[in-house]
């Protein structure tokens, strides 16, 4: 009997250069083939960036959160079943990271006793102003007044345009739960937009009246 402790054997696996589908990519990463992880990042970074932007709004932390998404994707990649489910899995991890970021923002706001929607946070950047269109700022400002979960439901459905089944897979909810949560989120947002006491962009309020 021989038991060798430590990393896989000395002969290095060949680099991954193929452009085959997700299953081959997952296999290549499991086999520690050079270039495979980079290939995954390259293939999905646009999607992850867009998804985070859709759910969180523009902000300086998107790139940092993208790193967190890929870190978690690699950590649990062996659990993707079947391997073809990789795209959906990346989406689900992105949504999870976005939800945590939304909750963290709300906790920070509560702790700092700021009542506003933190437009500075939405539009701010590393040491410089980011030109965020007014309607985007207004929309995410209004969304900041509903719960993190509601913001996630609204943005995935209406900004990203996900179907209900897709939302269920991304949020790990049954179809019935998705419908229920979405309805509640819609009601919450519409109620906020209808509340004259709250400062909401006129175009946004007018759009729902």
């Amino acid at each position: 009997m021989t038991q060798v402790l430590g990393p896989p054997p000395a002969s290095a696996p060949p680099p991954f250069v193929s452009d085959e589908g997700p299953a081959a990519l997952v296999r290549a990463i499991a086999e520690n083939r050079p270039g495979a992880e980079r290939m995954l990042v390259e293939r999905f970074k646009v999607h992850v960036q867009r998804l985070l932007t859709r759910t969180l709004g523009p902000g300086p932390d998107v790139e940092d959160l993208m790193q967190e998404v890929f870190f978690r994707v690699f950590q649990r990649l062996h659990k993707v079943h079947p391997p073809d489910a990789l795209p959906g899995y990346v989406t689900a991890v992105s949504v999870l990271v976005a939800r945590e970021a939304l909750r963290k923002r709300r906790r920070s706001r509560w702790l700092s006793f700021f009542a506003s929607e933190d437009l500075a946070e939405i539009g701010g950047a590393r040491g410089g102003a980011v030109d965020v269109p007014e309607d985007v700022r207004a929309f995410y400002g209004a969304l900041g007044k509903v719960s993190a979960h509601a913001q996630l439901c609204i943005t995935l459905r209406y900004v990203e345009g996900m179907g209900l089944e897709e939302m269920g897979a991304a949020m790990d909810l049954s179809l019935a739960s998705v419908k229920r949560h979405l309805k509640r989120a819609e009601d919450d947002l519409v109620a906020i937009l209808g509340d004259d006491e709250l400062a909401v962009a006129p175009w946004l309020r007018g759009a729902v009246r």
Partner: protein, 398 residues
Amino acid sequence: MSTTPRHDLERIGLRIAAEQDRALDGTPSPDADLLLAGVVTRRRRHARRRAAMVTIGGALVVLLGVLGAFRLAPRSELAQGGEARRAVAVTAAQPALGTTTAEEADVPLAFVDGTRVVVTRGATADLRDVQAHGATIALRDGTLDVDVVHTSESRWDVVAGGFDVHVTGTRFDATFDAKSGQLTVAMKQGSVRVTGPCVDEPLAAPATKTFACPSSLRAEPQTVTPESLPLARPSVPSPPVPSSRTPSGDPKGAPLAVAPPAPKPPGDDAVLEKGSAAEVLALGDEARLAGDAGRARAAYVRVRARFPRTEQAAKAAFLLGRMAEAGGALDEAVSDYAAATSESPGGTFAQDALGRTMEIEQRRGNGERARSLAEQYLRSFPSGPHASYARSIVDAAR
């Protein structure tokens, strides 16, 4: 025409998505190497945290063991110098990560939860990634005798040559022949699920089955020489991210340009022609999410051609419809949605397909057609997401 808040939110979402797409198109996405560097940093941080927790946990266990020994031993015994019970530090004993080759005899790997995996004589296996409720074992050649203790959280995987045996609590033998690429699973108790390049099926005791996939689908290790590496390809211009949104009458919501089809990577052909329906659909999803509309469309069309009248074909039709709608090709979208609805009337995307068709017809001014679709929607999906909009169309027509 009365609108519902949901319909208004759709218009708002479309506007926001268009603005965001413009902003994203105008700035390059983060560099992949920088993102990977961030991942590496996180891995190191994570490993340091785990090491610290193991150290603290081990120290606590030792401390508790010592305290427990003092409690058990009567003071008089200690005072008399009698034989005191020694505290025994109980540490979690897990097999080490790495390769095990059973050259002359079986090698048992025993885990703290009672799970036992025997690498039988002549076999080689890698133990990877031990977690709280499971582990992954890569069987390189030979036979494993697996006995997993069932809990509600058990998650074990035996991977071999592209196959994956998912285990939640069962006993079985897995034999992998590295030369032929065949995996034989002999169930003794319970059930597993075996997935692979051409297989996705459950297997329950007392069945024994051998799995083999065509060599074209298996990942073959390649001998790499400088000549065998592909020439650098010209970078494929990434097209504008196709928003899945529908253009509205809002001047700001002008239809997004449909990007010209990008050149197809060489590996796509193998998947398109020989992959399973799920694999081809996944290729399309990946391309769509990456913003490569041409590649995505090719994959979805192929699913429909190769696997007609299947659930996957209906789903591909729905996704083609969404892409067409986003590109402003409304006639094509309506046709694709109709296919999705008729081929899988009870499917979830059938709801969306019918609802979107109804909205397209209403927006185009085809009131009669929209009303007919709305009535059909309310009959089929009375509490669906488009139900209130459907009701508003029917009410307005009265």
